[in-house]
Structure formats: structure tokens, C-alpha cells
């Protein structure tokens, strides 16, 4: 494809470059390509992009310089699942190897006043729900969205984690990247957006960061791209085609709950205990049929949606969120149908019934503004060591009320009704924050309700691998006879010695409610002994009120049995957190 003289230059360049330089070039070219929409703009894009990159970028033809140009950087992270934290420490480790002193700090611990003093500042941040930053980054996020201060000496780079299945992919990272620029910061590395398989893209971005820092890093040679943010398309995540082999409601007949244990087989599965899988639920056929009926659209018609072609029926059933449209979509709908519609969350079918489209063509226009169905994440409750080729999830069938009407959760109901042999696509969502410790370490697992899911995975893994550390499980639910999830498996683990201790709390079996934290208190002495012995504490399940109550209870235990003041107990717990011995997966 290349003319001979160009090819020669390229080959020479490649031959004379170090691996890091090649990685940098790779990223550079990808960035250029992201911004070239057609041939005619290539030249200008390239020149713009060149400006973005240090002019001397590929300059150090020889090996890595002995001395980095920059000696001190700050790496901050905003994390929900721990992935950003993990990457931040990876980057710091690499920086240190290159002789750069890197300070790693969580955004919730970051002193906002320090921001104006920063020189080299990198942020790794994930995106939650509808484009929001993680809770731990909220304060920082709000801070940089204020006006009235300038960050003129700041040189920054943002690595954004996200999930392309969500409508607002990596939005929080984009926002941070843009705001830092608005406040006067200079972007020295372009924004990298990563999907759930983030490792490769993150490594590439690290290389860019290090190359930039080690080459020069002086502000004069680093200029932000006006207006445009250079991003790279993330590498696609691996989608597994699974098949359901078991789907059973674990709760007994008279329970208030339905918790489905679903076993899925898929080829070449890879995951670790602590990971989740993401599943895109399908819409109920009855609702899709109603939409087709009220709009009169031909359901077999092929239309294009975000660069993919599908029939209208498939789009409505498998791709588009029609359950509760966010206000921004309702707004766009209003302008298509040219009606005043109050800003509210509403289902597409209700919208179509109250504010009908004029014809099928107009509905096709509506399809264009709809957003993809967001995937739901479920903690994996199996272990590849114990359940080869399978992934299991533990799904609470969700019922909730909207304006007094009982509604069913889309995904949990979709999953609950999947028959055996049904095909199901999913992807693995890594959670490097929630990992088993070394095999000889003790583990305390607190997982009431579906919170038990990752602990079934942990226990199966530790059983299969013969881990020698002790295991202690706290489980709770409403009723002993109907809601003891995985009861017989837990009994077996006790019998075979995998589980050293189990305590259960069934809240509604007696007049006064008993929860897991009450059982922890009853076993305070042993609990503290385990902590002192280096045990890792894991909490999974409802964030409120469970995880809050449990954390408070642990503080009480530390206070009482460690003979500590409350301040000392907090300090003790904080040190557990810093050592990675207090881990939560709560929702």
C-alpha cells in the first residue's frame, strides 16, 4: 500500500526504534486515525495531531534515557470496583522503574487544595451508571466543575475506564479530561478510553505517559489539541456465547424471595473468583409486539443503529432500552413528535401510547435516538477450578415499585425465565479489587443474601486448590427453611473442613430481627483473633444498610477486643484497608 520511499522511511524508523518508542508510535497513529474522518482532512488532522505530540517525540533514537526529564508525578484514581486502583499502582510501579517518583492517591483522599500545585498529574477513573463518576471521585469531580480557579502549571493525562455496553461510555473520564483542560491544564497524553478488557489499552497508555515524561515533558513542547480530544477506540471486549445448563430458584416455595442459581457453559472461559459477568437482557416479546402494533412499523425491516444493521424486531428485543427512557431521550422524542412532554422517566410503550408518533417513518427516527440496553453485572458464584468450563451466577429476582405499581427488574426476570439450553451472551467484568489472598491466609466472608455469590466462588476455588488458610462465612437472609442459599453446599464445606466457621442470621425467624452483624458481635473474640492473625475481610451484598452496619460492627469489635479508642479502631481498620485486607463488593 505504501509507496516505496514511504515504506523505506517507515522500515528504517521501525528498525531503529526501541519497543517503547514503537508503542508510542502505535498510540500516536491510532490517535491520528481517530480524528481523520475522510481523506481530505487527513493533512490538517495530522498536523494538528503532530502539534499535540511532542515535536521531538521519536527523537531519542537510542535506548531509554538514563535520567528522566520529569522526576515527580502524581497518579490519582477514582474507583468503584478497584480496577482503577490496580492500574494506578501498575503505572506507579512502571514509573518508579524509570526513575520517576510517583505518588498514588485515591481521589477521595486527595487534598483538593493540592491540585493547583500539581505539575504532572494523571487520573485513572471509571464511569458508573449514567455517566457518573464513582462515589469516591465525586468530591474531586464536583471540585473541577467549579469555576474561579486556574491550573496553569498542570500537565495532565486521563485514562478512562468504562463499558461500551453503556450509552455514556467513559463519560466521567471524558469530563475530567475536558475540565482539566478548561481550567488551564495542559494535556500531555491524549485521553484513552478503555472497555472492560482494559489491560491492553491501559498498557499502551502507560507507555505513552512514560515516553512523554522521559523524552522531555516540558510544557513548551506539549500543546493541547484545541477543541478535540484525541481518543483511541478501545479494543473490543470478549463476548462469550454461553448456554444455560441449570436454572433453579434456590428459595423454597413459601419464601418472599426468588434467587436463581444459573449455570452457564461456554468455550474458553476465563475469569477469576471475585469477577462478575455482564449480561444484556432482552426485552419482553409482548412489549415489543405492542410497540410494533402501535407504531405500525414493519418488524422485518432492516435498519441501522450505531453502525450495525438489524431488523426492527431484533433491535427492539435485544438492543434498545425501551423499559425506562432517561430524560435526555424523552426530550429528543418530544422534539421528533413535536409535543410538550414533561421531563420524566417513562417506558417507550407508554410514551408511544400517550404521545403517538405520526407514522412508521417517524418511529424509525425515534429508533435513532434510543440508547442501547445497558448490561447488568452479576457476581460470579463459581470457580473454574471447581466448575470447569462453567460460570455460575446467583440472581435475585428483582421486584420494585414505580408509582405504587409493582414492576419487575428487566434483567433478573429475563434470566429467571431462561430455560435450559437457551443461548446467552455475556462478558467477563474483572474486579481486581476483590481477589482471594495468598492460599495460606485466613478469610472472613460476610455475604448475606446474594452477597454469598462471590464467596461460593471463593470457597469452591479454595476447596479445589487445597488452600490452607482458614475460611469463615457469615450468611443471613429472612428464613432458615426457605432462604438458606446453597445450604447443602455450605454444609459439605463444613464437613470437609473447607469452612472453619459459619454463622447464620435469619432475620424473620424470631420476633427480634437478627442480622449478620449480630452474629459477628456474638463471635467478637474470635473475629478479633482472626484479624490479629492477618485475616482478610470481604463484604458482599447490599451497600445500605448492610455494609455500613457491618463496618460499624467491625469497628466496635476492634475497639472492644483490641482495647482501643474509637479513633484507634478507625486507624486499625484504615490500615486493614491499606493492606488490602478489608474489601467490599457492595451494591
Amino acid at each position: 500500500m505504501l509507496a516505496e520511499h514511504k515504506l523505506k522511511i517507515l522500515q528504517d524508523l521501525v528498525r531503529s526504534s526501541t519497543k517503547e518508542e514503537l508503542v508510542w508510535m502505535n498510540g500516536f497513529l491510532a490517535g491520528v486515525l481517530m480524528n481523520c474522518h475522510d481523506q481530505s482532512t487527513l493533512a490538517s488532522q495530522t498536523s494538528q495531531a503532530s502539534a499535540a505530540a511532542p515535536a521531538t517525540a521519536p527523537a531519542p533514537v537510542a535506548a531509554t534515557p538514563d535520567k528522566p526529564a520529569v522526576s515527580k508525578i502524581t497518579i490519582t484514581y477514582g474507583t468503584e470496583s478497584g480496577n482503577s486502583k490496580k492500574l494506578a499502582s501498575d503505572l506507579a510501579a512502571k514509573a518508579k522503574k524509570s526513575g520517576i517518583n510517583a505518588k498514588v492517591v485515591s481521589l477521595d483522599q486527595y487534598r483538593l487544595n493540592d491540585l493547583s500545585k500539581e505539575e504532572y498529574f494523571f487520573t485513572i477513573i471509571s464511569t458508573q451508571g449514567e455517566g457518573e463518576p464513582p462515589a469516591t471521585a465525586k468530591k474531586f469531580f464536583d471540585h473541577i466543575h467549579q469555576n474561579g480557579f486556574k491550573l496553569n502549571q498542570l500537565k495532565f493525562g486521563v485514562l478512562a475506564l468504562g463499558d461500551t455496553s453503556y450509552p455514556l461510555f467513559c463519560k466521567a473520564g471524558e469530563d475530567v479530561d475536558q475540565q482539566l483542560q478548561k481550567l488551564g491544564g495542559q494535556r500531555i497524553v491524549s485521553l484513552q478510553k478503555c472497555d472492560t478488557d482494559y489491560q491492553g489499552d491501559a498498557e499502551g497508555w502507560f507507555s505513552q505517559v512514560l515516553t512523554t515524561l522521559s523524552s522531555n515533558g516540558s510544557s513548551s513542547s506539549v500543546a493541547p489539541i484545541a477543541g478535540a480530544v484525541v481518543t483511541k477506540k478501545p479494543a473490543g471486549k470478549k463476548i462469550y456465547a454461553g448456554s444455560i445448563i441449570t436454572n433453579v430458584n434456590l428459595n423454597d416455595r413459601d419464601s418472599n424471595k426468588q434467587t436463581h442459581h444459573i449455570e452457564i457453559v461456554a468455550d474458553e472461559l476465563e475469569y477469576q473468583p471475585g469477577d462478575s459477568i455482564g449480561i444484556v437482557p432482552e426485552n419482553a416479546p409482548a412489549i415489543v409486539d405492542s410497540i410494533i402494533a402501535v407504531t405500525g412499523i414493519d418488524k422485518t425491516k432492516t435498519v441501522s443503529f450505531r453502525n450495525e444493521s438489524h431488523t426492527v424486531y431484533d433491535l427492539l428485543k435485544k438492543k434498545l432500552n425501551i423499559a425506562y427512557l432517561p430524560e435526555r431521550v424523552v426530550k429528543q422524542y418530544a422534539s421528533i413528535v413535536k409535543q410538550d412532554i414533561p421531563e420524566t422517566k417513562i417506558s417507550l410503550l407508554d410514551l408511544l401510547k400517550i404521545y403517538p408518533v405520526s407514522n412508521a417513518a417517524q418511529f424509525q427516527e425515534v429508533i435513532g435516538i434510543l440508547e442501547p440496553i445497558t448490561p447488568r453485572l452479576y457476581s460470579i458464584s463459581s470457580s473454574l477450578q471447581a466448575h470447569s468450563g462453567e460460570v455460575h451466577v446467583t440472581v435475585a429476582r428483582d421486584n420494585f415499585k414505580v408509582n405504587g405499581e409493582v414492576k419487575q427488574g428487566l434483567c433478573s426476570n429475563f434470566l429467571a425465565e431462561l430455560p435450559v439450553d437457551k443461548q446467552l451472551e455475556f462478558y467477563v467484568h474483572k474486579n481486581s479489587q476483590f481477589r482471594l489472598p495468598a492460599e495460606d491466609k485466613d478469610v472472613i466472608m460476610i455475604g448475606p443474601g446474594t452477597g454469598v455469590a462471590p464467596f461460593r466462588s471463593f470457597l469452591a476455588e479454595r476447596d479445589a486448590t487445597g488452600a490452607t488458610g482458614r475460611n469463615w462465612l457469615f450468611f443471613g437472609d429472612q428464613h432458615f427453611t426457605s432462604d438458606f442459599l446453597y445450604q447443602t453446599e455450605i454444609q459439605n464445606w463444613v464437613q470437609t473442613g473447607v469452612l472453619t466457621k459459619v454463622n447464620t442470621a435469619f432475620s424473620r425467624d424470631q420476633k427480634s430481627k437478627i442480622y449478620v452483624q449480630h452474629k459477628m458481635l456474638e463471635n467478637s473474640a474470635a473475629f478479633y483473633e482472626w484479624l490479629q492473625n492477618g485475616a482478610y475481610v470481604y463484604i458482599c451484598g447490599a451497600k445500605e444498610p448492610m455494609s455500613v452496619d457491618v463496618e460499624y460492627t467491625i469497628l466496635q469489635i476492634i475497639e472492644r477486643f483490641g482495647s482501643k479508642t474509637s479513633a484507634q479502631a478507625i486507624e486499625y481498620l484504615n490500615s486493614l484497608k491499606e493492606e488490602g485486607r478489608f474489601l467490599k463488593d457492595v451494591y
Binding site: V248, N249, D252, T481, S482, F484, Q487, T488, Q491, V494
Partner: protein
């Protein structure tokens, strides 16, 4: 003695090692992971009046849900003579609702039991019973079980005197261990363990369950010959003269084990006076303790001990231990086993209403709100409650001035009509518990018998036998709780939906029946009975009962 200590059955070893029936019951109760008890404790808990059971209908489904079997406990009260005050009935009613399935089950041995009590509810249940001065000590297990006594006071002015023997025999057969009070009622262990020394049971208890019944002729409602010890009150000129004593009754058998058989008690003789009577009962228990088979539980009831010793040797051993000889048995006559339903009056003018309770199950259903009715009666405080071995309840001891009030309650809730309208066979029938809770069940019994009788009734009517009180009994396995072996028509479950059909028992309980056909299903049973009842209705002699007819025609050979 005659036991080979090296060949003890597993249960014998558990008893010996149990530290006075304590075992690890406390630890079992504390185990949060299971609704079951540890295996050894499952044997011991019987001595405390409970059986661990599970809902057998739900096993498969629960296993698929990764839930253990649905374990629960049946608690049976020790209720000598089957008597309860109205306050106790109200309490029982409430306990049944709060801790059990709600159904109050009147048993074939004159007590009540509650089913479906979860492990976490067992202690609260026992505590609640305790506040009512009720207990379940020795209601099950290898001890002297609930002592039963002819239920209906109308038959004799001396019923009260005889009735008091039930409590006295129950007392003499109570284990001395304080385990019940420590485990279920949180009492502190005694400091002086000597007080627990048990000269009767020692540390081994009995080889097997032991049942004592007292009959007051002419009614044999207790099925006196089906018990290990049967006392028959001898009444002359309205005075209690003493008792004929019989021993070695027991109905349980094992399918396919030819060494097992049902046996009626053998008449030993007559004893006068309370002291001697109690002594004789006690020494029969000690002989069984010392001579009973402790290696094979299927051959360990007193009936086998007696047959092994020979009746004369047994009697000699008894007389030796008693220190007195038995007199020759006195004449007596039984005329019926059924309860006399409806109103009757005793010698003091007190009133009694015998309520028909189908299969002994007191509950409110679509037909009748029996449980509510009995609660109302109890709340009025105007009547005591007496249970019969036919699984019925007698609303008892009603003062003449209170009769109207009680009658109104019974009337308003349809209890009187329910009792009067029940068919003759239905009112006389007995079924054991069987599915879904009894671990021994092979075929349905109490859940199925009402339906079966509904199918049989048109056949009876066809042959003009609807008023005939043929005794019909169904038991879900060969252990005989439903006493099918002493019925005119007896069903013994062999497999789900299948029964051995036994014929030829008499109506008064003097005679065992015999297996007529094996392994019949419902269609075959109804066909057989249709043809048998047709012949009976055509060929019977005047006043001849079905059981006697079958024997005379040699349809079975006894």
C-alpha cells in the same frame, strides 16, 4: 443377664453413652446450619417425646434447590389417661398455631401430638407446655410410654379410681434423669448426681418401647391386648376388685422378616390391691429390661421375650420378683371398642359429649371449624377434654347447669351434626399418621383413608351395610400404629398406593386378623370388598359381624 453385651444394637450403645439421655442434644440445637439433629441425638430425642421427621413430599424439590430436607419435629405429650383441663386445651391450641402446623393430632394412644415444629421452635414449645404443666417426657423412646385408660367415665362410677392408676403407672415408669429439664427448660444440673440414679432403667432403659393399657369392661376402647401390659378392671357390685393382668401384646412386624409377628397379650392372672398391681407392672418392666433382646430391635418387644422364655417361665419369674402369686383371672366381658358418640351422663349427673374427629386431626377445614369450636368450649371453662384411643375427644365433666351453653357452642359450629352424620364405618375407622412426616411410611394412611371411605360408602350402601360399624383400620407400614391387625378389615401399607388386606379380626379386639391378599391397589381393594361385603350381607347369620362371618366362611384361616 441374657444379653450378649458384645452384640448390642447401635441404639443400645447410644443409650449407654448418652449420659442420662443428654447426648449432644444441646450442641445439636445450637447448630445453625441444619434443622436436623446429630445422628445419635435423633435416637435420644425420642425419649424426650419427640421424633425428628422431614416432609417426605418435598425431598426431591428441596435437594434441587440445594436446601436440606425440610426437617421438623413431632412432639407428643405424656398424658396418662388422656385428660386435659380447658386451660390446657386453650394453651395447646395456641402452641399448635404458633409453633406447629396448627393441627392438633389425637393419637391412637390417647394423647395429642403436634407436627412440623422447626428445630428453633422446639425449646419454646416445650417451655410453653411446661407453663401449662404438660410435658413430653418418655412419650416416645425405649421406656414406658403414655399409659392409656378406658376413656369414658359413664361406664362406671369407679372410672375415677381406675383412671388414677394411669398416672401412678406413668410415674413409676418415668426415667429419673433430669436431662429433659436441663436441655429444654434450661434448668441447672443437679449438684448431687445420685438423685438421678435410676434403679428401674439404669443406664440402658428398655430394649424397646413399652406400652401399658387399662381397660374398663365392657368397653375395650384401649385395645388392651395390643399392649405390652394390659390391665382389665374387675368390677363387682360397683366396686373395683382388682385387675386381670395380661402381658406380651404388640402388633408391629417387619415385611419380609418371618421372625416378626403381631401378638395379643396373654392373660396371666388376677391381682387385687393397688400396691400389688403396681408392683406387678413394675416387675414385668424389669423382666423385659433384663431379658429383652438388645441386639435386634425388630425382635426386642416383650412379646418376643415372653415367647422365648415360655409363658410359664415368664410367669414364674414375675411371681418370684413380685414375691406373691397371681390369682386365677376373673371373668369379664368386652362388648365394644368404638366410642359412644354424642351425649351421655355419668352417675353423678355430669354430661359428656363424644366428638367424632376424623383420624384424630383437630383443625378447621371446609367441612367443619372443629378447632375453633373446641377452643370456644375450652374458653368457656365449662368442660374438660378427654381423648380416646379411637382418636376422638370427649368434652367432659359438664355440670348440668352448663350443658346448654356447651351444647350451643357445639351446635353453632356444627360439631353435633358432624358427629351424628358421619357414617358408621367412618366413625369407627382408625388410621396412623404415615405420609408425609412418618419416616417409616410406605403407603398413605391418614391423608388417604377419608377419601377411601368415601369410595367405600356407596358399596356399603349398595349392600345395605351403611349402619354396620365394621372396624376398618389403615396403617402405612407393618409397624401397626393404626392397629390394623386387630380390625375386621385391616390395611397394612406395602408400597405407595398398595396394601395388604387383612380380614377376620373381631369387633371387640379379642382376635387378630389374618392377611387375606397381598399388595392390592385401590381398584383391587374395592373390588374385593364389594364382593366380600355382598356375600356377607346375603349370607350372614343374625347379628353376625363381618369379622366373624369371614372366619366362619374360612375366607381366612386363623
Amino acid at each position: 443377664m441374657s444379653n450378649n453385651q458384645n452384640n448390642l444394637s447401635a441404639v443400645e450403645k447410644i443409650k449407654l453413652a448418652s449420659d442420662g439421655l443428654r447426648g449432644t442434644l444441646k450442641e445439636s440445637l445450637h447448630d445453625e446450619l441444619t434443622g436436623a439433629l446429630r445422628e445419635d441425638d435423633q435416637s435420644l430425642v425420642k425419649f424426650h417425646g419427640m421424633y425428628q421427621q422431614d416432609d417426605r413430599d418435598r425431598r426431591e424439590e428441596r435437594s434441587a434447590k440445594k436446601l436440606e430436607w425440610l426437617y421438623s419435629y413431632m412432639i407428643r405429650l405424656r398424658l396418662p389417661g388422656g385428660f386435659m383441663t380447658p386451660e390446657q386445651w386453650v394453651g395447646l391450641h395456641n402452641i399448635a398455631g404458633e409453633h406447629a402446623t396448627g393441627v392438633i393430632k389425637i393419637t391412637t394412644r390417647q394423647t395429642v401430638q403436634l407436627h412440623g415444629i422447626l428445630k428453633s421452635h422446639v425449646k419454646p414449645t416445650i417451655k410453653d407446655f411446661n407453663t401449662l404443666h404438660l410435658d413430653s417426657i418418655a412419650a416416645c423412646g425405649d421406656v414406658n410410654r403414655n399409659v392409656i385408660c378406658g376413656a369414658h367415665p359413664k361406664f362406671s362410677a369407679i372410672h375415677e379410681e381406675v383412671f388414677s392408676y394411669a398416672s401412678k403407672i406413668s410415674e413409676l415408669g418415668l426415667p429419673k434423669t433430669r436431662a429433659y429439664y436441663e436441655i429444654w427448660l434450661d434448668e441447672k444440673p443437679l449438684l448431687d448426681k445420685k438423685e438421678e440414679e435410676d434403679p428401674l432403667y439404669q443406664d440402658r432403659y428398655l430394649p424397646r418401647k413399652f406400652k401399658v393399657a387399662i381397660a374398663i369392661p365392657p368397653n375395650n376402647d384401649v385395645d388392651v391386648f395390643a399392649n405390652d401390659v394390659g390391665l382389665i378392671a374387675i368390677i363387682e357390685n360397683n366396686k373395683l376388685k382388682g385387675y386381670n393382668i395380661a402381658a406380651g401384646g404388640g402388633l408391629g412386624t417387619t415385611h419380609g422378616n418371618a421372625q416378626t409377628y403381631p401378638r395379643l397379650a396373654t392373660m396371666l392372672g388376677f391381682i387385687a390391691g393397688e400396691e400389688k398391681t403396681l408392683k406387678a407392672v413394675l416387675e414385668i418392666i424389669t423382666i423385659q429390661r433384663d431379658f429383652g433382646n438388645r441386639s435386634d430391635r425388630k425382635l426386642s418387644r416383650l412379646k418376643y421375650t415372653i415367647d422365648k422364655m415360655g409363658i410359664e417361665a415368664f410367669k414364674a419369674e414375675l411371681e418370684k420378683r413380685c414375691g406373691f402369686a397371681l390369682e386365677a383371672p376373673k371373668p369379664y366381658t368386652f362388648t365394644r371398642r368404638q366410642d359412644d358418640y354424642g351425649w351421655s351422663k355419668n352417675h353423678e349427673g355430669k354430661w359428656y359429649f363424644t366428638v367424632f374427629v376424623e383420624n384424630g386431626r383437630v383443625l378447621d377445614d371446609e367441612k367443619i371449624a372443629l378447632k375453633t369450636a373446641l377452643l370456644e368450649v375450652a374458653k368457656s371453662g365449662k368442660a374438660n377434654f378427654r381423648f380416646t384411643c379411637n382418636q376422638n375427644v370427649i368434652v367432659s365433666d359438664i355440670a348440668p347447669k352448663d350443658k346448654k351453653a356447651v351444647e350451643k357452642i357445639l351446635q353453632d359450629f356444627g360439631v353435633i351434626a358432624h358427629t351424628e352424620n358421619a357414617g358408621a364405618v367412618r366413625r369407627s375407622a382408625i388410621a396412623c399418621v404415615s405420609f408425609n412426616t412418618c419416616p417409616l411410611a410406605l403407603a398413605e394412611a391418614q391423608r388417604y383413608l377419608p377419601t377411601f371411605i368415601t369410595k367405600l360408602e356407596p358399596i356399603l350402601a349398595k349392600h345395605g351395610l351403611q349402619e354396620d360399624e365394621i372396624s376398618l383400620r389403615m396403617t402405612g407400614c407393618p409397624n401397626g400404629c393404626g392397629r390394623s391387625y386387630v380390625a375386621e378389615i385391616g390395611f397394612v401399607g406395602t408400597a405407595y398406593g398398595r396394601y395388604n388386606l387383612h380380614l377376620g379380626g373381631d369387633r371387640e379386639g379379642y382376635r387378630l386378623n389374618k392377611k387375606y391378599k397381598d399388595n392390592l391397589d385401590e381398584t383391587a381393594i374395592l373390588q374385593e370388598l364389594d364382593s366380600l361385603l355382598e356375600k356377607y350381607s346375603k349370607n350372614r347369620k343374625s347379628g353376625e359381624n363381618f369379622g366373624d362371618y369371614v372366619v366362619r366362611e374360612k375366607l381366612v384361616t386363623l
